[in-house]
Symmetry: C2
């Protein structure tokens, strides 16, 4: 692998962004998460907030019809934003030495050698972590029930997005190199694992290393 | 964690046994794979081959009935053998510093701190690896079609076994700490990853490491 490209997909609240951030700090890689939204705003002229609203979201319906009353404008816009994000992801990968978070990047870069990571944790821990972060950051408080709904809704949104644009099931192991349960490992050991994998040069593949 | 206990479950042909063996070599741990069969033979008095035949296999039916003609003797024997294997696994874990392969050990040791690994690879690579091993070892040749059937059948057997004795789906990420695609990593980098995870002391958990 000439250029190091790491994609990190993640369940909501599992600390995937934080794993990506620390991995970048440790290895001097560039982080692309919401940075992709800013780049898409620059390129399309849409407002950042509008792109964020459509970011990592499947089009609401993709069968336009004058009879159904479906908002085909929304669908077309959503597709246009995703297309731009996918172009950006491929351009980022050409530069290399980067970590790309979410946005089906593992699939978009299917033909480009890269390391594909999935970060997950049990639902109950992700709810607790998000509630703890609210307390730390002093943002609007939520009940545990409200947070459970939010976490599930965001997972569902990411799943629908991933499965709309790829052939794979979100979070099913076949799509990934390594999957890490941060509830067991914590954030730093997750970074240790990815670092060991990279430094082992990804090893040989299964068929040349028996 | 006082004692180091690693469980490794694996898809058939993914090199899980080889990962376990090299991990044991590298860290001076004891390997328990078919060793468990030998121990169960000693303890139950059944022949090794008979235990191997029932090993990692769900009972064929668990509803005995004089009307159905179901072989309840086979069912009872299978359960007895599994029970003995589970007792052995818990005894092994008490000693610690070991790697236990398969046999739903991650679930059997649910209340004992341990590291739970799942090794997988795409079907096509596992078929090729098993065919290559036949060539290397000079055992009876098989066609690709025959090997595909065998690999799928063994996976199915392991899945049924795992799901009969546990509450989890076999290979679904929720049950594991780390899952590794050996088709991407190779065997040695898989060992690197597990070593990094162990030496990081497993890190803190998600909620104390934000």
């Amino acid at each position: 692998m000439d250029k190091l490209i790491v994609t990190i997909d993640r369940e909501y609240g599992s600390g995937g962004h934080e794993v990506a951030r620390r991995l970048c700090d440790r290895l001097g890689l560039k982080l692309y998460d919401d940075e992709i939204i800013e780049m898409a705003a620059m390129n399309t002229g849409y407002m950042k907030d509008y792109i964020k609203y459509n970011d990592e979201t499947a089009p609401q319906l993709n069968i336009p019809s004058v009879y159904s009353g479906i908002d085909t404008f929304q669908t077309a816009t959503s597709n246009k934003i995703q297309d731009e994000e996918f172009r950006i992801i491929r351009r980022i990968a050409e530069e290399g030495n980067c970590v790309i978070v979410g946005r089906a990047a593992d699939y978009i870069l299917g033909d480009i050698p890269h390391i594909s990571i999935f970060i997950f944790a049990p639902l109950v821990d992700r709810i607790r972590r998000k509630l703890a972060l609210i307390e730390i950051n002093g943002t609007d408080p939520m009940t545990e029930y409200e947070m459970e709904k939010k976490v599930k809704q965001r997972d569902k949104q990411r799943r629908k997005y991933y499965e709309f644009y790829t052939d794979n099931k979100w979070g099913a192991h076949v799509a990934y190199d390594v999957m890490i349960n941060t509830s067991r490992s914590g954030i730093n050991a997750a970074v240790d694992i990815i670092e060991a994998y990279i430094k082992g040069g990804k090893g040989k593949d299964l068929l040349s290393d028996m």
